[in-house]
């Protein structure tokens, strides 16, 4: 099967619904294993940091949730651009499915960042470039969802919210490079940096497990939400009866 044939087949709602269902266990099972290892090791077995002591253990939640906040938004922006240019409704469905997930992980990132900032910086919040741009990302997610909810007609909601998602993408590189461009209170990159990661292997491996685990968790949750979006958008999903609701 050619790539385009495969792509067109996947872009049909019944096929995408079925594929998302089939992918779910491939995402959640390794996610549970990776997060069990990564979070458990990060919390109890990784050595304390020489400067921050045990407080640094928040990184095992904070950094992956920051990554998910950017990954979900970038995926939303790309899917929205695809939906606007090629009029693929499934891309709108994917964007709508990802928004609440991205928003919740952005909120988790901000709150765990505050909980880390209090003992390290002496403040829960500072109007710092990194913190402020991440807060703007949360507002973009909330704005996206509010805009969708403001329209009764789904097609208009899709178009308007897709434009917002694409425009908001400009904030993503600002978040990433904020610690480089401005004199930030926030520490610089720990994992992806020139000269290699700034942490020993005993801390790094569980962190990488958390990054992969949380990414798979997001994929799993996105599959569930995408299936719901697909069914809600179908006028008469007779194929649902043929597939059987439990035949993933």
């Amino acid at each position: 099967m050619g790539m385009w044939t495969w792509f067109h087949r996947l872009a049909s709602p019944p096929s995408c619904y079925r594929t998302a269902g089939q992918l779910k266990p491939w995402f959640w099972i390794p996610a549970v294993l990776l997060l069990g290892y990564g979070l458990g090791t990060g919390l109890w077995f990784a050595p304390p940091d020489y400067q921050q002591g045990d407080a640094y253990r928040i990184i095992y939640i904070h950094a992956p949730s920051a990554w998910l906040s950017l990954l979900a938004y970038t995926t939303m922006a790309v899917a929205s651009a695809v939906a606007l240019v090629w009029r693929i409704k499934l891309a709108h469905a994917l964007t709508a499915a990802l928004a609440p997930l991205g928003a919740s992980f952005t909120l988790l990132c901000l709150v765990t960042g505050s909980l880390w900032g209090r003992p390290m910086w002496g403040a829960y919040w500072a109007w710092d470039a990194r913190l402020t741009s991440e807060l703007i990302l949360l507002f973009l997610y909330l704005g996206y969802m509010a805009l969708r909810a403001a329209y009764d007609e789904r097609e208009r909601a899709d178009r308007a919210s897709a434009v917002l998602a694409v425009v908001g993408l400009v904030n993503v590189p600002v978040i990433h490079f904020s610690v480089v461009w401005w004199n930030s209170l926030h520490q610089g990159s720990t994992v992806i940096r020139s000269g290699g990661p700034a942490m020993p292997t005993s801390m790094l491996i569980p962190l990488l497990a958390c990054f992969f685990g949380f990414t798979l968790l997001l994929a799993y949750l996105a599959c569930i939400r995408l299936r719901a979006e697909i069914v809600l958008r179908e006028r008469k999903p007779t194929w649902l009866v043929n597939q059987g609701r439990d035949h993933d």
Partner: protein, 57 residues
């Protein structure tokens, strides 16, 4: 191994973060699964009633 309570004053921030993560992940999972189940049930009811209006006119 770090024992519970051995983190001193940092423990509340570290364990608070882990607890919050568990709540966020749990809520996301529960709400997503619920949304999927309700969407399917709604579609099944629509099909049973031969209602072809759906959500999108």
């Amino acid at each position: 191994m770090t024992e519970i309570g051995a983190m001193g004053s940092y423990g509340v921030y570290v364990y608070g973060s882990y607890l919050l993560m568990a709540v966020v992940v749990g809520l996301n999972w529960w709400l997503s699964a619920r949304r999927e189940r309700l969407a399917i049930e709604q579609a099944m009811r629509r099909l049973a009633a031969h209602d072809t209006k759906g959500e999108t006119p």
